[in-house]
């Protein structure tokens, strides 16, 4: 049996079907509740999927990833509050449409273009991942180090308004990754006689703390009751033929754009959605309608943000560098299962790659089904009191983290990471680079040291791929600053802090 057939065959196991349904339910629900992000849900679910087989676990995590991409549009359209950051651009035209009594139309159109965006990008994953991985197989230590630096710098440049804070966060992640045994000599570093620290900080606990608990703590700090009004009259559901025609152009443009943005390490649906919306507005015959309830605007935003899924998956699986923050969390789970995403996975476990593509497609079709049969009852779920959600998240974070090691030390690490995470959030330090630094730190250190010991520092600039990646890394850090300086000169603005444009 070919690896492809074997991978798809693994999905016929009834337990996988149960995992898909569980993931779909969780994903749709977490997407619907503002504040519960996809990365938070995947981090939380990672705790209790570690006891499952890889295919079953991936079925849960990937379906949450897909389901959240549908669920987050509902509050964005009906309450003007994005369920996850990926739906930020949905609010621009989704909520105005709902206020005009076209909430049903906006929900159905959004679900359809989201499906199209994800499926097209998964096709790209199926055809592009293997060639990308086969190129990456040729990478030596210098190239691998440069790749990690590139991923980290892109994450830094897009996840923080302050480049300096992003850089410091990235270094903090790399520094935390040095706790434990040296990756080359095995010497103890920063262990302070504690056995638990010998294998480094448990990264799933750190991830759950930085993404899940920190977000919860921030909501506890800032909750202001009754700031949004739910639209309860949804109007008609299906688009007319003329409206389908209207949607075609922004859909085509944004599906390509979203896939490309998704393939950039660390760039996710939030950025892609805003860029897609902006591009579609510039190309539209009716740009004046954008932001006031344009179906074109909604189509562009949702297609672009959903098309990032396949691009992001391609980067993660082919190169081992997370395509977005959800993938960073998923990478952590895969490492615990003993899977190393990257070029070698296509040689060692090609059937798993086929399973992943299959799971993505099934999850997308199921999510569309749920989206199309949704009723006004769903709107009522948005009214669920906050205290149930907060208590549930805290308990699941604690128990989920405990299950990763059956050791209370892991839960303490998670709680401490949560406190650190909320301080970081309040002070403008992004958690993404910390997690990426923590996950990729050993890879960066061991490859840099090997490159320096074997070929000397020159190898970083004389190997064409390594040099190109390092140049791109420098470019990704410099560009936002150059753009900001240009904008300031053009506007004659007074000096501003070193903030970067996140778009």
């Amino acid at each position: 049996m070919s690896a492809f057939a074997e991978g798809l065959n693994a999905l016929l196991d009834p337990t996988v079907a149960v995992c898909l349904l569980v993931g779909l339910l969780i994903g749709t629900l977490v997407g619907m509740f503002p504040g519960v992000t996809g990365s938070m849900a995947v981090a939380l679910a990672a705790g209790f999927t570690l006891t499952l087989e890889p295919v079953q676990g991936l079925a849960v995590l990937l379906t949450i990833y897909v389901g959240a991409n549908y669920g987050d549009r509902i509050p964005a359209i009906l309450v003007n509050t994005p369920g996850t950051p990926a739906a930020i651009a949905t609010t621009l035209d989704g909520y105005p449409l709902a206020k005009q009594g076209k909430g049903g139309l906006a929900l159905v159109s959004s679900a359809m273009v989201t499906t199209g965006g994800i499926l097209l990008s998964v096709v790209v994953f199926i055809f592009a991942a293997r060639p990308v991985a086969s190129i990456a197989l040729e990478f030596g230590p210098a190239e691998m180090f440069a790749l990690v630096v590139f991923g980290l710098t892109v994450m830094i440049s897009i996840s923080s308004r302050s480049l300096l804070k992003g850089l410091l966060a990235g270094i903090a992640g790399l520094a935390i990754a040095t706790i434990g045994r040296d990756p080359i000599t095995g010497d103890e570093r920063f262990v302070f006689g504690l056995n638990d620290l010998n294998s480094g900080l448990p990264f799933i606990a750190v991830i759950i703390g930085l993404f899940g608990i920190a977000e919860l703590f921030d909501q506890l700090l800032t909750h202001h009751p009754g700031t949004a009004q739910i639209v309860s009259s949804l109007g008609r559901w299906w688009p007319t033929r003329a409206e389908y025609k209207q949607m075609a152009r922004p859909f085509a443009l944004s599906s390509v754009l979203g896939t490309v943005v998704g393939a950039v390490p660390a760039a996710g649906g939030d950025i892609a959605g805003l860029i897609g919306w902006d591009r579609a507005k510039r190309m539209s015959k009716h740009p004046e309608k954008f932001g006031k309830g344009s179906l074109e605007g909604l189509t562009a935003a949702d297609t672009a943000s959903s098309a990032t899924l396949g691009g992001s998956l391609t980067t993660t699986m082919a190169l081992g560098v997370p395509g977005d923050s959800v993938m960073a969390v998923m990478l952590g789970s895969m490492l615990i299962w003993g899977l190393q995403p990257g070029p070698s996975m296509f040689v060692q476990s090609p059937e798993l790659v086929a399973s992943i593509a299959g799971i993505m497609i099934i999850a997308t079709v199921l999510s569309l089904g749920i989206s199309l049969v949704r009723s006004q009852g769903m709107v009522k779920i948005l009214d669920l009191p906050r205290h149930y959600i907060w208590v549930g998240i805290l308990l699941f974070c604690i128990v989920g983290t405990y299950t990763t090691s059956n050791n209370m030390y892991t839960v303490w690490v998670m709680l401490l990471s949560g406190v650190v995470g909320v301080i970081m959030k309040r002070t403008g330090f992004p958690p993404g680079p910390v997690v990426l630094g923590l996950l990729l730190g050993p890879l960066a250190e061991s490859n840099l040291r090997r490159a320096l010991l074997i070929d000397g520092p020159a190898s970083l600039v004389t190997q064409p791929i390594a040099a190109s990646l390092l140049l791109l890394a420098a470019f990704s850090l410099a560009m936002p600053l150059i753009r900001r300086a240009r904008a300031a000169r053009r506007d004659g603005a007074p000096p501003q802090p070193i903030e970067v444009d996140r778009t």
């Binding site: 520094a175 000599t185 604690i398 209370m408 444009d501």
Partner: protein, 167 residues
């Protein structure tokens, strides 16, 4: 990637919900970054290496990271003093009730983590959920009694009975 056009300004009633910028906060961040990175460099030098080879040994990478962080920390301090503080308009402002809610939640979670190994999952979890639900605004016997019991039973059944995690 081109800059987007600026979005509409927040409505006046929402402006009070946006966190304000603070120079003092920026300076504190920079000082913590400088002290933390200096400590990293110092701690890296204390690493005991079994085979002293000099050069690129296990101390080298943490030292490089600490030195880089120190340099960025100094620049951050200079920016904090010389430039206007960073805008925090993407953050909502914290409330006094929020600080209390957060501090008490962390304290309850810590007590819970201490109690759990002593009393077992069920006995520790149920009262914690009752207190947290009340703290987060839940009122009424259904909310304060039924919800914690259902959550405790559900998580116990899911993790202990189904997933075989020894809680």
């Amino acid at each position: 990637m081109q800059a987007l056009e600026p979005g509409p300004a927040p409505a006046p009633e929402n402006q009070a919900l946006v966190a304000g910028s603070s120079r003092r906060l920026e300076i504190i961040c920079a000082v913590i970054a400088i002290v933390g990175s200096a400590l990293l460099v110092f701690a890296a030098q204390q690493i005991e290496v079994r085979n002293e080879t000099g050069g690129i040994d296990p101390r080298w990478w943490p030292t490089v990271l600490g030195a880089a962080a120190l340099a960025f920390g100094v620049v951050l301090a200079a920016v904090a003093v010389l430039r206007p503080p960073f805008s925090r308009d993407e953050l909502e402002s914290a409330t006094r009730a929020g600080w209390v809610r957060l501090a008490v939640s962390v304290a309850i979670a810590m007590v819970y983590l201490v109690l759990w190994p002593w009393t077992g999952y069920l006995i520790a979890t149920l009262p914690m959920l009752v207190v947290l639900t009340w703290l987060f605004g839940g009122r009424g016997w259904k909310t304060l009694a039924v919800f914690p019991v259902v959550m405790t039973a559900f998580t116990y059944a899911l993790f202990h009975l189904v997933l075989k995690v020894p809680l």
